[in-house]
């Protein structure tokens, strides 16, 4: 048997301890909460799997889950093609490269709650720039505190504004790493722009796009701050996404047991989708 030097693993130890404290131990606590009932004061009563049954059968959970999938689907289907298109349009060399990159990175530097507050003010019907323009210049009624459609359009637009840059930057990084020889070969063969995109650029961007889609899926599936600040889940429950509903149950109603069960189901969904996606995207590389 070949002996290997495994001392490198000790360097991972600090990260392991950090993750244990900020993820693993809280996670285990959530598992413990999910099978118990508490009325505070650190007194717990055994409840078994009742909360899981209750959450899995509740219409409220189904509705929030449906909204969550719709939101994630919408932003992925907009942000990924848009991000690729912008990355393709960006210059590869010269003065405009840093200008484009910095401009692209700007939205991502803004804290999430500030993004929510900005869009809230931006879309106010009477004083917000966008809201005023729609209502008083174009004459289209647009009020996200009253119309669910307007609220949805606003949160989706806000997310596109905030996070398309991430896709752009990742796709751009993939694009600039393609050697010129590929383009020259394509030119000699007389390949069309579409063929160049389909057979050179897209395959070369596959890895970064996998990461981009995964990050955008996980982030959008767990999104809380921006829609919370912008709409607070309203009007009615129309923009109450999973995390907003979860916080309402956990902190608003102080139902820690059901909230814990719900967060575990939430976690299982995120984990499965991320795993499936990653496995399917990297399957061909491994074999």
């Amino acid at each position: 048997m070949k002996t290997e030097n495994n001392k490198g693993w000790f360097f991972v130890l600090p990260v392991l301890i950090l993750v244990a404290f900020n993820a693993l131990i809280p996670m285990m606590t959530v598992v413990n909460y999910s099978v118990q009932e508490t009325f505070g004061d650190n007194v717990f009563f055994w409840q078994g799997l009742d909360w899981f049954e209750q959450i899995l059968r509740s219409d409220r959970f189904h509705a929030a889950l449906g909204r969550q999938f719709l939101f994630t689907f919408l932003i992925l289907i907009i942000e990924i093609p848009l991000g690729i298109a912008i990355a393709l349009a960006m210059p590869r060399k010269g003065f405009w490269v840093p200008v484009c990159l910095v401009t692209m990175a700007l939205p991502m530097l803004i804290p999430w709650n500030v993004v929510g507050a900005m869009w809230n003010i931006f879309t106010l019907p009477d004083i917000g720039l966008l809201g005023y323009f729609f209502n008083h210049v174009l004459g289209i009624e647009y009020n996200m505190t009253q119309s669910p459609l307007a609220a949805w359009m606003t949160i989706v637009t806000m997310d596109v504004w905030h996070w398309t840059s991430l896709v752009v930057l990742l796709a751009y990084a993939g694009l600039v790493s393609i050697p010129d020889a590929y383009y020259q070969a394509a030119k000699i063969d007389g390949a069309s722009n579409w063929s160049v995109f389909r057979y050179i650029q897209l395959p070369k961007m596959k890895n970064v796009l996998t990461i981009a889609i995964l990050l955008r899926f996980m982030d959008s599936f767990n999104i809380y701050t921006e829609p919370f600040v912008l709409t607070g889940g309203g009007p009615g429950n129309s923009t109450t996404l999973l995390s907003i509903d979860l916080v309402k149950i956990a902190l608003g109603q102080f139902d820690l047991g059901p909230a814990a069960a719900m967060s575990l189901i939430y976690f299982a969904i995120t984990l499965l989708v991320s795993w499936l996606f990653y496995t399917l995207m990297t399957k061909d590389d491994l074999n």
Binding site: K2, T29, V31, W46, L56
Partner: protein, 92 residues
Amino acid sequence: MLSWMAWTWPTALVFIGIFSAIGVLTFLEIRQPGGDERKGVLGLTTTRGDRLFIALLGTSYIFLAWLGLVGQPVWWPLFISIGWGVFCFWKV
């Protein structure tokens, strides 16, 4: 010190089970490095760790599906999960 974590015996046993499984895999990996990589019936290339992950993830979904569609008690999903675990380490 750990009272805030609200431990119960069943949840503790679940975690003891998971951590011992990881421990066993670590031991096996030291004895036979390489992770026993193979291509299984699902068309995936898996190591021992992957198979444990798939077994555990599948188990959680078997239990959740049973609780949502049928309800308690959960003896049946337990047996199905054990079967699924055996299948994962055998074929996947």
